[in-house]
Point group: C2
Chain length 184, copies 2
């Protein structure tokens, strides 16, 4: 068994297969027809990624798979453990800057696959990193705005606004979870 380091795409596939056993074709169609369109639905991406997940022992093809010609995959217990490990890592500043999409993917599957409380911990951790990072951007803008071209300044402001929107979102999300807790 070869051990590949799972990519963001790999975790997306793993999460979807965990939701319900799926074939490569199902996954391609899912990507092309939902907001997960940000992932490529090309066969040259999906099938090799599935083979890697299988080689790493994170998924296996189910026997007696549906229609002839289809190969259905299901998640193994190793796959579930690996997914949870990835999903519940603390949020780092680097994730914010380089991999915001992966962060949201981790959160998207939180209710289904992580233990209770993981969603709130994630949100708090995300919030903390955002609150620490946004002032850096503001500082840079303040020091440099006068000798930045207008479009450069606007682009930076757009980035700041995007992070602020995420921060606002985390507050709403935390409230949603708190409320649900109170009701239960």
């Amino acid at each position: 068994m070869v051990n590949h380091k799972t990519s963001t795409l790999g975790f997306a596939l793993l999460g979807l297969i965990w939701q319900a056993p799926r074939s490569g074709y199902d996954l391609r169609k899912f990507f092309s027809s939902t907001p997960m369109i940000s992932f490529s639905d090309s066969p040259g991406v999906i099938y090799p990624a599935l083979r890697r997940l299988e080689q790493s022992g994170l998924i296996q093809s189910a026997e007696g798979s549906g229609r002839r010609g289809r190969k259905m995959f299901e998640v193994t217990s190793r796959g579930r453990a690996e997914f949870r490990r990835w999903q519940t890592q603390p949020v780092m500043q680097q994730d914010l800057v380089r991999n915001l999409d992966a962060l949201m993917l981790r959160f998207a599957f939180m209710d289904q696959f992580a233990e209770k409380g993981a969603a709130l911990r994630f949100l708090k951790s995300f919030q903390k990193e955002l609150a620490a990072y946004i002032p850096n951007l503001r500082k840079y803008l303040k020091s440099n705005r006068d000798h930045m071209p207008r479009s450069g300044r606007l682009a930076l402001e757009s980035g700041i606004q995007a992070y602020e929107t995420h921060l606002r979102w985390t507050r709403g999300a935390v409230a949603t979870y708190r409320q649900a807790k109170g009701e239960s």
Copy 2:
């Protein structure tokens, strides 16, 4: 001369070198110390990318480059033409979904390198694609919200909010340009 298809990183380098001749080291430091930190500052990324730009004839190393050991690059006329072509392409829905960062990069250099009016054309084009795309996400949310897990729904809402923030930003940016035009 080999012709490589220039990547987003390549255009980032090209734009920065156009602003002022720079060495690989300068570029690495720029990435690591400004909001362009989203690009890798690793030498294993920067130096090969510079070689590719040079091989494609988009940059050349300047003679008598500064301190001993440094190689300063400057943009060629082919490089300028290629940058402008990339920068002034119309915005496609695919750019929105897969390459939002590249879009903002294109805009960031607009005032410096594109002809007058290009910034406004870009903003209008961006606006149009955003206005066309956001309703798709809303529709998906509306049809699926009842059988989505809470965290999945929240993640989708975060995506919608991010796009809406960009749309709001374009309106502010258009106003900025209009105002400057009126004043001039």
